[in-house]
């Protein structure tokens, strides 16, 4: 199920991406957004599995049965953030109204030159966070993800902007863990998405939007093991050309003794789930989960 999600971007071949990039940069954001209407209509009509999952999620978060209009809006938000990648990666930040909330939390860690974890979700736009991070003073997250996904991401980004060079550490090996430690020891920042478990990973079930959902333990275990604070950051799309970037201090398990650690980790994952729920409620069309994750 979760594998299916990560495989999605691959379907768009490099050729299609190049065409969209060319179209977007030639005809501008307004004209290319018009293309999103037929594209979204097509996917709402023909992606029955994703549509079902969208409906399940939206009905929970909106508190009433989701209609076709809601589902279309969900898809349109997703498509908009993907299209906006093109402009953000090409340095066209002036097209956007980007507002920041709570980003002073970064001062605490960057002034101390303390390495930290930046935890996000499959929500809104990563590129907009990247822009904000750069403006805030060279906060550049090294993303941790599975190797296969890292390669896909890199090929997508390179087809948009050949000079883009995302810093990525592939997960799953002992060496990766030692590399993460090195980045943090140099005052760097490690970025991870914590709202989707990959098969085989240790998980924990949390309360989420009135149901139960499995969250990966990995990011939080890592932060506890390496004794680093966790900051939650999300770049959410508000419609039009507006994005809101939220940052908040999520927690720090560095003082927790080994014996009480598992309980403290479980509590922190639940806090993440609770905050994610909060942002899903305030920006319901931004959680890009098109799979049935409820238990």
């Amino acid at each position: 199920m979760s594998q299916e999600w990560v495989n999605r971007p691959e379907r768009s071949t490099v050729g299609i991406i190049r065409f969209i990039v060319w179209f977007a940069l030639t005809f501008g954001r307004r004209a290319s957004r018009l293309l999103l209407y037929p594209i979204c209509l097509y996917f709402v009509a023909f992606s029955s599995k994703a549509r079902k999952a969208s409906r399940l999620y939206l009905s929970r978060v909106l508190g009433h049965p989701a209609g076709w209009g809601d589902i279309f809006r969900h898809y349109f938000h997703f498509a908009s953030t993907i299209l906006d990648r093109v402009f953000l990666l090409s340095g066209r930040n002036e097209l956007f109204d980007i507002r920041m909330h709570g980003v002073e939390v970064f001062r605490r860690v960057t002034e101390a030159q303390q390495g930290f974890f930046l935890i996000s979700a499959h929500m809104g736009s990563f590129e907009v966070m990247h822009v904000v991070g750069r403006d805030l003073g060279k906060i550049k997250a090294t993303m941790v993800m599975y190797e296969e996904n890292a390669q896909k991401l890199s090929s997508v980004l390179k087809s948009i902007n050949p000079e883009s060079n995302p810093a990525v550490i592939p997960l799953g090996r002992i060496d990766s863990m030692l590399k993460i430690q090195e980045v943090l020891d140099h005052g760097g920042c490690i970025g991870m998405l914590a709202d989707r478990a990959i098969s085989g990973e240790k998980m924990i079930t949390c309360d989420f939007l009135g149901g139960k959902m499995a969250f990966p333990l990995g990011p939080f275990r890592l932060a506890a093991t390496l004794r680093r604070p966790i900051i939650l950051m999300l770049g959410l799309y508000q419609g039009g050309n507006r994005y809101d970037v939220y940052a908040e201090y999520l927690g720090d398990l560095s003082q927790v003794e080994r014996a009480g650690r598992d309980a403290a980790i479980a509590e922190l994952v639940q806090r993440y789930a609770t905050q994610l729920e909060h942002y899903c409620r305030s920006h319901p069309y931004n959680w890009f989960n098109f799979y049935d994750v409820w238990r």
């Binding site: 090996r173 002992i174 060496d175 990766s176 863990m177 993460i180 240790k202 890592l222 093991t225 598992d262």
Partner: protein
């Protein structure tokens, strides 16, 4: 489970350290010195456990594991390999 292969004194010390530092739900004597530490077979440690262990080993024995060391998977292949590596490289 059959009786574990006999361990050397140092292997026993290391097994006790692994169990205590990772808070494992087993006795040090349950660890077979030849079974893999890492992955689904054997002890079933994942890469985050391995990281935790490497931090403990560095504190206890002054052995620093490096990310670019190609031998990492060999070092973690079994308790015996790990013991040999530590005895070769320990500074404490």
């Amino acid at each position: 489970m059959t009786a574990a292969t006999d361990k050397s004194g140092f292997e026993e010390e290391l097994a006790a350290l692994i169990v205590s530092s990772l808070n494992l739900d087993m006795k040090p004597s349950d660890i077979d010195p030849l079974a893999p530490l890492y992955g689904d077979a054997g002890l079933g440690l994942d890469s985050i456990d391995a990281l935790e262990l490497s931090l403990t080993l560095s504190k206890q024995y002054g052995v620093q594991l490096r990310a670019d060391d190609e031998n990492n998977s060999r070092i973690f292949a079994s308790l015996r390999n790990l013991a040999v590596h530590i005895q070769q490289c320990r500074t404490k």
